[in-house]
């Protein structure tokens, strides 16, 4: 937590853009370099920036522990998407073979289940990074 007005103003102005950039990396993971892990790391870093500049309480207001718990459990969504393949009679996590439309390569809505899996992973990585930092920082605060 800092009292520096330059750091505070910069962090307040930059946070929405950092999070928007993270969302862009997640949503365009099947088109351009990046993906769920990278975009999630960017969003998690924006939450860490908030905690460093404004303190843990402010960050907790933006992304509460309960929300992190829900996002953290989203691995089950990944598994459920995987079961689509089994329901269609092919392998676990099959995409094109399971009849999921692949779309026109280059479109935002293309690539079968890759977009959905990227979104799941992105939010999961963001909440994991945020949770790890906040829990360890809270322990350090006493």
């Amino acid at each position: 937590m800092t009292e520096d007005i330059i750091v505070k103003t910069t962090a307040r102005l930059m946070t929405p853009f950092i999070q928007m950039f993270g969302l862009y990396i997640i949503l365009h993971g099947h088109l351009t370099p990046g993906g769920g892990f990278q975009g999630g790391a960017v969003i998690g870093a924006s939450m860490i920036l908030l905690a460093v500049v404004y303190g843990l309480e402010e960050g907790e207001k933006r992304m509460s522990h309960d929300l992190s718990t829900v996002l953290e459990s989203s691995t089950i969504v990944y598994v459920l998407i995987g079961f689509i393949g089994i329901a269609a009679g092919v392998n676990f996590l099959a995409s094109g073979a399971a009849g999921i439309p692949l779309g026109r390569p280059g479109d935002l809505l293309s690539g079968g289940m890759i977009l959905a899996l990227n979104i799941v992973i992105g939010f999961k990585v963001a909440s994991t990074g945020k949770t790890l930092f906040y829990t360890l920082a809270k322990e350090d605060e006493g």
């Binding site: 993971g29 990944y78 890759i114």
Partner: protein
């Protein structure tokens, strides 16, 4: 004392000979016909856009061909958060 050092020296020389032998046997750096580039890579480069619909080949590999592996990675993250929270995440008593 000198016998101990002698045994260590012989072990190191043998190990070094073994490692050098394997390194000499490796394909040259960047060679196009190395086994790593001839097994599945041509299939990925030629067919991944058709088979996965993703223009980013990396995403096509990690979230389509190797999606099961990525599920393991997500589980590793979940386990890390679980371990940290179970050790440090409880309510403060003091």
């Amino acid at each position: 004392m000198i016998r101990k050092w002698l045994i260590r020296l012989i072990f190191i020389v043998l190990l070094g000979y073994l490692v050098a032998g394997f390194v000499v046997g490796l394909p040259p750096f960047g060679s196009a016909d190395a086994p790593a580039y001839t097994h599945v890579v041509p299939r990925y480069i030629e067919r991944s856009v058709v088979e996965t619909g993703a223009t980013n080949i990396i995403s096509g590999i990690i979230l389509d061909y190797r999606a099961y592996d990525t599920m393991g990675e997500a589980t590793v993250l979940f386990t890390a958060a679980l371990a940290i929270l179970s050790l440090l995440g409880g309510e403060k008593d003091d």
